[in-house]
Subunit: 254 residues, 2 copies
DNA sequence: TGCTGGCCAACTGTCAACAGGCCGCACTCT
DNA sequence: AGAGTGCGGCCTGTTGACAGTTGGCCAGCA
């Protein structure tokens, strides 16, 4: 009965286009520096260019795309410094979140966090990399949720997208399998013990560790760019078609 | 000679429209909850609706507008909780910024910060409220700049816009004239002494003080909404014309 | 061979128009 | 009188088209 009357409030084309582009960026289908041709995307999605442009504007404001006048949109390419800055911001955000969570989280909230932690453990043991990353992100997001600060959650989500873009582009796998469990286990303990200082310390350590790992991957990947400025906003605009013409169907946000 | 060849790269209409709407929001011409009629704005600016829509999308992503399907864009109205969350975030950001600035700021950077501080003092003595607010914001922004973290600066700018919107809507004036100088003076001293803990403490105190002041204004303004949920996304869509049909010329970003 | 200048295709920025939903209002029926 | 219903205007969401610009390509020339 309730199926017959499914909500017909169709999601706007802008939202759908945004989610499609977003997904293409996070999974690394659209590579940094790559040019996005409006007409191409619109054609592939079967819509007109208007909604695609609006979606691109949204992502521009988020910092995932940059726009050059009369040239169009490009996937943002991270410089080394920008990755460092991002992780520094992430540390400050998540440390604040866990501090707030210590004093505000309910018992039920902590239990559900424990649930997520168990999921991380089981996924680690079964060696399922992609879901594991997802679960770790979910764990950290939960801490933001427990902080009770909606603005913090929104910011975390933005940062998480950029981080996962970086991870996927650099091909970073979650490091030694033992560590994340351990760290997140300590975090959980500190939260349960309502130990603000320890929780903050663990969180900071974790993020610095993650940062170091990512930066090492980055340097391994860009060994020569150490000395020179390397400051062409989109590094070689790469006029050309998108990489993978298939595999970009409609229907995010479901 | 160099004047004869001024850059003729005209700023895109989207950018100009965005800045116009932004200004209208920050100075309180567009009030929270107010509906923005695309055609109206486009007509007043002498352009078509397309760029206006894209500009609105930008501001939506920043959280300054909310969009309801088939209803259009509304100026975002802050709930009490959202203001608290915003200030909590601001504290975490600026404390992190001043900490980083302590260890990274150059002597020249500190001197220019001192310059800004003197400007605050002189404006306070002359009692020029609007420029004073501007100068205080500039002072705090400088600290973010001294932190050397570009991402932090971007986030500060976003937050600053929201804060100034709140201040202007609530009609908050900068409190007792003595305080800000005093606080920012201590901040400056701590930075010059490279005293990270003291700088962080002063910053946190300042922002908590500002928050308390704003919240008091808010509660004075919305005394009845304490108990009830008050959760209609845009509080009464207020179908109707914008408040001040004049005074919204083109040409932000100059 | 290397450089200059013009030509061309592609793509962006912008606009005007169309279809359809939402809101307010008047009208009708109970 | 009050509630429900149908109508009409206003406004959004989307589209297709047009003009202008950008960058690449190629011929011509030193």
């Amino acid at each position: 009965m309730q199926d017959t009357f499914k909500a017909l409030a169709t999601v706007s084309l802008v939202t759908q286009a945004r989610d499609c582009i977003l997904r293409a960026i996070t999974i690394g289908e659209f590579l940094p520096g790559q040019r996005l041709v409006e007409g191409e995307i619109a054609g592939r999605l079967g819509i007109s260019r208007g909604p695609v442009r609006e979606a691109a504007r949204l992502l521009e404001q988020r910092g995932l795309l940059v726009s050059l006048p009369r040239r169009g949109f490009f996937v943002r390419a991270f410089e080394e410094k920008e990755i460092e800055d991002l992780y520094e911001l992430r540390e400050c955000i998540e440390v604040a979140a866990v501090r707030a969570a210590v004093s505000r989280a309910s018992e039920a909230g902590l239990r559900s966090l424990g649930e997520r932690h168990r999921k991380i453990i089981s996924l680690t043991q079964r060696g399922r990399e992609p879901e594991l990353i997802e679960a770790i992100v979910a764990f950290h997001r939960s801490i933001c949720v427990l902080s009770g600060n909606g603005r913090l959650i929104r910011l975390f989500d933005e940062i998480a997208i950029e981080v996962s873009q970086i991870l996927s582009v650099l091909g970073v796998a979650v490091g030694d399998p033992g560590r994340p469990i351990e760290v997140q286990g300590s975090l959980l303990e500190a939260l349960e013990a309502r130990d603000s200082r320890r929780a903050a310390r663990e969180m900071a350590h974790f993020i610095r560790h993650a940062k170091a790992e990512v930066m090492e991957h980055y340097r391994r990947r860009h060994p020569l760019e150490d000395g020179r400025p390397t400051q062409s906003p989109p590094p070689r605009p790469a006029r050309g078609q998108v990489r993978n013409p298939a595999n970009m169907k409609m229907g995010g946000q479901q």
